[in-house]
Symmetry: C2
Subunit: 196 residues, 2 copies
């Protein structure tokens, strides 16, 4: 196999990159100066070798604990529970949340053989137990069937500890259109209506 075909094959393994896009990227890299292509390759190796899960919350980090866990400016009374470490970036970019996080590493999905033991649930309970500073657990799993089931499961597990357990709101996305929204979302938006 030629080096071009080999690179195209490797690129085509990435999510959302089909055969044609992989070839286009390969041809682009062929025209790229060697030091620039080397920089991309080095960045891939560096991330792959040096980035791992934070020992406390499961966020991505290059050290033992992540920026957020190490920061003295975060609100340690609230922990936001997310499915994946990549969800943390999405929440951080809003600038609206100043608490800590906990990454489950997935969601309950019995059909895929993912039960509570496969998720980072025990370490979460341990954190709640040990820290003693946490007063609220915000469940930010995805608003999908599995995400909701996971949130419900965690709610049952955590509420006996006497903590406030909250769930991110569901409703119409900002800029959305009632006419094109699905019925379940509209129903949730009606249920979750608030006083103005």
């Amino acid at each position: 196999m030629s080096l071009i075909d080999h690179l195209a094959d490797e690129l085509a393994r990435l999510p959302g990159i089909g055969r044609k896009t992989a070839l286009r990227l390969t041809y682009h890299l062929l025209k790229t100066p060697q030091d620039e292509a080397a920089r991309l390759a080095d960045a891939i190796v560096a991330v792959s070798e040096r980035v791992h899960a934070c020992g406390r919350c499961g966020n991505f980090t290059e050290r033992a604990e992540c920026n957020i866990c190490e920061s003295s400016r975060r609100d340690v009374s609230i922990i936001c529970v997310v499915e994946e470490a990549s969800d943390i970036g999405a929440i951080e970019r809003t600038g609206e949340y100043r608490g800590l996080y906990h990454v489950l590493g997935g969601r309950l999905s019995p059909l895929d053989g993912i039960g509570p033991a496969e998720l980072n649930i025990a370490p979460l309970l341990e954190r709640l137990d040990r820290a003693g500073t946490v007063r609220e657990v915000l469940l930010a799993t995805n608003p999908s069937v599995e995400g909701e089931a996971t949130a419900l499961y965690l709610h049952k597990l955590i509420s006996p500890l006497g903590l406030r357990v909250t769930r991110i709101a569901r409703g119409l996305p900002v800029g959305g259109d009632l006419e094109y929204a699905d019925g379940v979302t509209i129903a949730e938006a009606l249920h979750g209506r608030r006083e103005l």
Copy 2:
């Protein structure tokens, strides 16, 4: 800057990859086994360092001359002229062409400062002159304004040599729809009509 942001930046330089896709790919690479990520990085470096232009036709190759130039099974009486080496793959995949190629490395574009001297035109004329086996030059530059201008320029240059100069056909794409085709394409399809 974190390694994650750095990799996302590098990926976002690739054509057609925006910031969000770059982040999605970065998170994917984080979950990929290290040896798989290393394989992608190695493939990038290998292509970047070891693939270069064929000394004869300008096609991509890892050796001094490309597979097609080296092959004894190609028809040496016809040279197909393309803008970019990546166009060769598109033509080869049809399996309909058995001749040789010549890569211009672009097309005439005075506004971008690309004149005949910036393209591999002199080496093409030299090949036609020296080989003595070529009887037809098939101009397969893109059917764009610049591609047409380049084809016309080459036609004027080559036809005095007593060679047959042909141009790839323009018309409706197979599976296309008259109703949605643009007028220029329909006009070309009418002009280029053939006996059944």
